[in-house]
């Protein structure tokens, strides 16, 4: 029962999304499909401001009752903000993965990396293939 994946952003095969804020920064989070697989997110380990990450390197950790999962950064860059609301309310990721459940903002080092990521329809095709 996946919600529609917004077309205003890009996706990774690791089930993260990234949206270009137009000011050299991006906002990242995990997809609806990912939160559905994890269910019951009870803890989020947020990155520290200033942390440098490479594309597809672990930037945060989400934990459900049952499991621990790394969140990979869709782009190379420096963490400029983390969603502190997730400290108290990690379930925001379950309820609103594409909005209030965002995880971090990054200053992009290589904006062209966005082009290498999946668009919404390619991501949906990827999920469909993964499930069969």
């Amino acid at each position: 029962m996946s919600k529609v994946n917004p077309t205003d952003r890009r996706y990774t095969k690791e089930h993260e999304w990234v949206i270009d804020n137009g000011d050299g920064t991006v906002t990242i989070g995990i997809t609806d499909h990912a939160q559905e697989l994890l269910t019951d997110i009870v803890f989020v380990e947020l990155p520290e401001i200033g942390k440098q990450v490479k594309q597809l390197e672990a930037v945060a950790v989400v934990e459900s009752v049952k499991s621990v999962s790394d969140v990979y950064s869709p782009v190379t860059g420096e963490v400029s903000e983390a969603n502190q609301k997730l400290e108290k309310s990690p379930e925001l990721i379950n309820h609103d993965p594409y909005g209030k459940g965002w995880i971090a903002k990054l200053k992009m080092a290589q904006p062209e990396e966005l082009q290498s990521l999946l668009d919404a329809s390619a991501y949906e095709a990827f999920i469909a293939a993964e499930e069969h």
Binding site: T39, D40, V42, E45, E63, S64, V65, K66
Partner: protein, 373 residues
């Protein structure tokens, strides 16, 4: 993968299926926390058909089991069940199992799913080597189905389909009765820390019982519950999981199973355990809670003053207590409630404190935990 007779029902209910020790089992139907809280506040129904049942009967069955089990089963009455350990020569925990006395010299051992094959082979080997020719040992797992009905409303639900009076059935006792006119064995026991029942019936009829119970439980808030919540429920109640918290390299004295060992009788593993008992154990499994953010998981390392001293065997977010809880092996000098240590979670250390068990105890005790069950 092995499938239980209820597999298609789980799929139809929208369960997420996982491989659990070679069995395709439902890990959750909706979500773990919801299923956990449903079991604590109302009732939950669990498919436990994957667990093993091994019957031991015939002349000498009592003597044989006295020889293989750590627990003294002398004095056990028909209709009573007991928790015991099946120990190795070295005193390690090959399995923790329940022993049902069905009739004179007729016992049923209910084993963990992952250990059943090993247990069965071991029992046959001991029978041959130690000279118990008249004891008959049979693996009944394929013909016996098992459901657990757990939670405070279990009795109300089950009573609708069972002729016998369940209210007078005591904890760790069982009756042979019928459920919907299907012959069944019902014991008051379980793995959640709540009142509840374990129900055994023919494998090919277990689906009918499952359907009828779900129907009978609608007004009581009964829901099917997956293995995810089964794990958080058992951990909150301070119960261990074989293969996770203990195995053949761990002895009953190192975990909380000293009370199921009787050194006064002769049994396999007795000498090793007697030696350990007199010398004292070096490490102990303890329960801990954490007040810093983060969740300790199986395999995480335990540190004291910067030195690695132990390992986490189980850990989760407790849905009832809403904090991180777990079990860990620590040196015996760090095992007293109130002692603090650090757990390495990825690249940082989080403080934890030893607490007395269980983490969660139901309010209205039907029976008392540390009595002789």
């Amino acid at each position: 993968m092995n499938k239980t007779p209820l597999y298609n029902r789980h799929v139809a209910l929208g369960a997420r299926i996982i491989d659990f020790g070679g069995w395709a089992m439902p890990v959750q139907y909706t979500n773990v926390i919801e299923e956990h809280l449903t079991t604590r506040s109302a009732a939950g129904l669990f498919d436990i058909c994957h667990m093993g049942e091994i019957d031991v009967k015939g002349k000498g069955a009592f003597d044989f089991l006295q020889h293989v089990l750590s627990r003294n089963i002398d004095g056990q009455k028909i209709g009573q069940m007991k928790l015991s350990v099946l120990a190795t020569e070295e005193g390690g925990i090959m399995d923790d199992l329940t022993v049902y006395l069905l009739g004179e010299n007729h016992y049923r051992l209910v084993t963990n799913a992952s250990t059943k094959e090993r247990d069965y082979a071991w029992l046959l080997q001991v029978k041959d080597e130690k000279g118990f020719p008249q004891v008959e040992i049979t693996d009944e797992t394929a013909v016996i189905g098992k459901l657990d009905l757990q939670g405070p409303r279990s009795e109300n639900i089950l009573q609708q389909v069972v002729p016998a009076n369940l209210h007078s059935l005591k904890y760790y006792h069982f009756i042979e009765t019928q459920v919907l006119n299907i012959p069944a064995l019902v014991s008051r026991s379980g793995y959640t820390g709540e009142d509840g029942f374990e129900i055994y019936a023919p494998h090919d009829r277990i689906g009918e019982i499952w359907d009828r119970l779900l129907q009978a439980g609608v007004d009581y808030g009964l829901k099917p519950i997956g293995l995810g919540a089964r794990d958080t429920l058992r951990l909150e109640s301070g119960m261990m999981l074989h293969g996770n918290d203990m195995d053949e390299t761990i002895t009953p004295y190192e975990v909380v199973y000293g009370w199921v060992v009787n050194l006064e009788k002769d049994f396999i593993g007795r000498d090793a355990l007697a030696k350990q008992f007199s010398e004292g154990v070096k490490r102990k499994l303890v329960g801990f809670t954490m007040w810093e953010r983060g969740i300790a998981r199986h395999g995480y390392k335990v540190f004291k003053d910067g030195t690695e001293v132990g390992i986490v065997t189980s850990g989760t977010h407790s849905p009832t207590l809403e904090k991180a809880i777990g079990l860990a092996f620590v040196p015996v000098e760090l095992s007293k409630p109130g002692t603090t240590f650090d757990i390495q979670i990825r690249n940082h250390f989080a403080a934890a404190q030893v607490v007395s068990m269980p983490f969660y105890k139901k309010e209205k005790q039907y029976v008392f935990f540390n009595t002789f069950i």
